[in-house]
């Protein structure tokens, strides 16, 4: 399997007469884009805004982030989701770098939504504040969930995916400025030199805790809740096989953008053939019943062992209950003789005093920690808000609240906010970007 990602380094995004890419500038015909989005009748109201790094803009509620891409070899960017099913991870996919499409609610946020500040103190909490964000702000006819805290956000998320393809398509005939190649031989057909290197599998635990379909991360369009751990090629993760869900408290979330760029994977690819033999990805999930967690751990450990993995990198898209899956897999892997490194965030409470993971085990002796879900953050008002600021306080976002005896509401009269890191959009960057860690005080 050989994947080529053709990169176009975007310097600016503007609205104009024709949707095109030229000399680093993406021009979008706004009306055409809106019409395209409105092809889905469930979208009742839509607008598009551009937010650039450094601008005094706050965006909330953000439900999803997607890198605009184009599958040059043919087919949709997200098979089984926005188009027909097909094998991904092969051929050429173009990517507009330095930019992302955000799915933003016009009103009515939900538990797993998040916030992004494009400048000031709050910018450092998210990766997306560094990108030029094309914000799709929409309202839908999904009345059944309008006032629910848990939302599938189906229409808005699919609209954002389609919009990202629409924009990405402008590169279809163009020659990329650079090409990243991702290629690995089939496992048993590798050279003796590569085989002699210590082997590694990446074990990913995407969010799949909702038992009703429509909220969880999808694997080629299949709900990850209905999955047993399986073996995937890293190219598949990088090339649109996985999309993010609509449930996970936001700082722990792996947005679709995160999946498309997964640093833990690309970093191991860099080491492949040099210091390690990268075998591939064991895609597991996160479950809510003990037996399910145990079963998943069983599968993960067996696969790792049968593949002959010397070591594993284990990452969980979540905190709290998912910690149990994380530790269960960690221990199962170690017991199978697979040396494991974990990558996760912690939840130590606002005072930092709580146990970092809900379960602990001495065998989990190697963990990279990417942040604290509970950290209290206070930020000044922002000149412009894309979306609706009140959603942070009103709609049950994991890191916001309507009223608190001591702290007051998350959104104050003057537009300043107080919230938990929990709702910073994909803030803990567990996928690998995080330059945060946790320290003892």
């Amino acid at each position: 399997m050989k994947l080529e990602i053709g990169n176009f380094h975007v310097k600016d995004v503007v609205f104009g007469n024709e949707t095109k890419y030229e000399n680093g500038i993406v021009t979008i015909n706004k009306q055409e884009a809106i019409d395209y989005v409105k092809e889905d009748e469930h979208i009742t109201d839509v607008d598009i805004f551009i937010a650039k790094p450094g601008e005094k803009i706050r965006i909330v509620p953000v439900k999803e982030a997607i890198e605009p891409r184009c599958r040059v070899s043919g087919g949709s960017v997200f098979p089984g989701v926005t188009g027909d099913l097909q094998q991904v991870g092969n051929g050429r996919t173009n990517a507009l770098k330095n930019t992302s499409v955000l799915a933003v609610g016009k009103h009515w946020g939900s538990f797993g939504d998040g916030l992004i500040d494009m400048s000031g103190e709050g910018a450092k909490y998210t990766y997306n504040s560094q990108l030029i964000n094309i914000c799709l702000v929409a309202d839908t006819d999904e009345e059944f969930e309008r006032y629910e805290q848990q939302k599938k956000n189906h229409a808005i998320r699919w609209a954002a995916m389609r919009l990202s393809e629409y924009i990405g398509n402008c590169t279809k005939e163009l020659k990329p400025e650079e090409i990243e190649t991702y290629e690995m031989e089939p496992i048993t057909k590798r050279s003796p030199e590569v085989n002699a290197l210590p082997s590694v599998v990446v074990v990913l635990q995407p969010q799949s805790q909702m038992e009703e379909l429509g909220y969880n991360d999808l694997n080629y369009g299949w709900d990850t809740n209905r999955m047993l751990p399986t073996f995937m090629h890293p190219n598949e993760v990088l090339d649109g096989a996985m999309i993010s869900g609509s449930f996970m408290p936001c700082s722990s979330k792996w947005s679709t953008y995160d999946f498309q760029n997964f640093p833990l994977i690309t970093r191991l690819y860099k080491e492949h053939g040099k210091t390690i033999n990268f075998l591939g990805v064991i895609m597991s999930n996160l479950n809510v019943a003990l037996e399910q967690k145990e079963r998943a751990a069983l599968f993960v450990a067996q696969m790792a062992k049968s593949l002959g993995a010397d070591s594993a990198v284990l990452a969980e898209e979540g905190y709290g209950n998912p910690d149990a899956d994380f530790i269960a897999c960690f221990v199962a892997l170690e017991d199978a003789g697979v040396k494991t490194i974990g990558c996760t965030n912690e939840c130590t409470g606002r005072d930092g005093n709580s146990q970092p993971l809900v379960t602990l085990d001495k065998k989990a002796d190697a963990i990279v920690s990417t942040g604290n879900v509970s950290e209290l953050i206070e930020l000044p008002p922002m000149e412009k808000v894309i979306g609706e600021l009140q959603s942070l306080a009103r709609d049950g976002l994991s890191g916001g609240w309507a009223g608190d005896e001591i702290l007051g509401p998350s959104v104050r009269e003057d537009g300043s906010i107080i919230m938990e890191n929990n709702s910073m959009f994909a803030g803990d960057q567990i996928a690998g970007w995080s330059t945060k860690t946790m320290k003892e005080f």
């Binding site: 450092k124 210590p198 590694v200 640093p263 833990l264 690309t266 970093r267 191991l268 080491e271 210091t275 390690i276 010397d310 070591s311 990198v313 040396k339 490194i341 974990g342 990558c343 996760t344 912690e346 130590t348 005072d351 930092g352 005093n353 146990q355 970092p356 993971l357 602990l360 085990d361 001495k362 989990a364 002796d365 190697a366 963990i367 990279v368 920690s369 990417t370 942040g371 604290n372 950290e375 890191n421 960057q429 567990i430 690998g432 970007w433 995080s434 330059t435 945060k436 860690t437 946790m438 320290k439 003892e440 005080f441």
Partner: protein, 348 residues
């Protein structure tokens, strides 16, 4: 000039050792004992009062002692509260922890203390207060006061505080997120740790799993009336001539002594050599520490099958966890070989 108050025990107040351990709490105007040195070193505050309390008084009447001391403090102006250093003294460490925690809760001022890492007070209170790592004995007094004072100065000046590691106090289990100065992303840290772990090299996990050292609960005794029970004590009860030369503190030796046929331990035949508490009562009646008489009574009644022919003894004060563990393991050999079913352990 900001104000500080120091809490010390009877020994460091120069009042005496074990004999004065029941000293009731009092607050003195001015500097007593280590308060003098602390006052000299502290730059951003002056020590105005010294609180003194006997370790036993605090240990046996903690609530009352704390209440009294808090009362003393009510009408005093102070911006920071220090206690100790307690070095390896368990009761002193516990006292410092108790009073610091209470002062912090009631008055909301920063509290600072110091003790050696093996002091049980560390595990008991590290989550509640800042405890600096001290030396084993008063030999490191000046160094430890320095640590406490320097930190106190920082806090009083409102300076930004570093991590527990940077400042030098025991990890409290309080974890917060920080941005790394060198901005190394998680993916790089993972690969770095991965390669080290694969190669068997040393690495440091960013999430140390805390030591939850729970001993698995031993099975209950099914038939007490058939069981052989042994008495063990860390109170240092020994035959008066201390034949095994068990140390009075920081013990590395233990003894086992034959009590076959004895109904009680007689004063003058047995005594205590434990330096950490007032020996008077135990010398006068060793049974208050090692209750041979009660055990023999139960044996006679048939409540227990048999009282083991030997009692086992060592001294608990200052004894390191490592040494205690070793001694215990040696005792276990005897227990197993001689059919001991269960133990009643008395500590002081």
């Amino acid at each position: 000039m900001k104000k500080a108050i120091l809490y010390i025990n009877q020994f460091f107040a120069g009042l005496g050792g074990e004999a004065k351990a029941d000293y009731a709490p009092e607050i003195k105007n001015g500097l007593v004992g280590p308060a003098m040195e602390l006052d000299k070193i502290l730059q951003n505050a002056e020590v105005t009062h010294t609180v003194i309390c006997g370790d036993n008084f605090m240990g046996s009447n903690t609530e009352k002692a704390v209440e009294r001391i808090l009362e003393f403090l009510e009408d005093k102006e102070f911006d920071i509260f220090f206690a100790g250093p307690a070095f390896q003294a368990g009761r002193y460490g516990s006292a410092c922890g108790n009073i610091c925690k209470a002062v912090k809760e009631k008055f909301g001022v920063p509290v600072v203390t110091a003790m050696h890492e093996e002091n049980p007070g560390v595990d008991m209170f590290k989550k509640d207060i800042v405890i600096f790592k001290s030396g084993k004995s008063a030999a490191s007094m000046r160094k430890d006061l320095n640590k406490m004072a320097q930190f106190g100065d920082k806090v009083l000046a409102g300076e930004k505080l570093g991590t527990a590691e940077e400042e030098g106090y025991f990890i409290r289990g309080i974890r917060h997120q920080v941005w790394l100065e060198d901005e190394v992303p998680a993916s790089d840290r993972v690969v770095d740790m991965l390669l080290k772990k694969i190669r068997g090299e040393e690495f440091i996990s960013e999430l140390p799993i805390p030591e939850l050292d729970r001993v698995p609960i031993a099975e209950k005794i099914e038939e007490l009336s058939k069981a052989t029970i042994a008495l063990v004590t860390s109170g240092g009860i020994v035959p008066v001539e201390n034949p095994d030369r068990i140390q009075s503190a920081s013990a590395t030796r233990w003894g086992r002594y034959n009590i076959k046929g004895m109904d009680r331990l007689e004063s003058g035949v047995y005594k205590t050599i434990h330096a950490g508490y007032d020996p008077a009562a135990a010398d006068a009646d060793p049974n208050v520490c090692l209750p041979l008489d009660a055990m023999r009574a139960y044996e006679n009644e048939g409540k227990i099958g048999k009282l083991h022919d030997y009692f086992y003894t060592t001294v608990g004060t200052g004894t390191t966890q490592a040494e205690a563990a070793r001694m215990a393991n040696e005792m276990v050999e005897y227990f197993k070989n001689e059919g001991v079913d269960a133990i009643v352990l008395t500590s002081t």
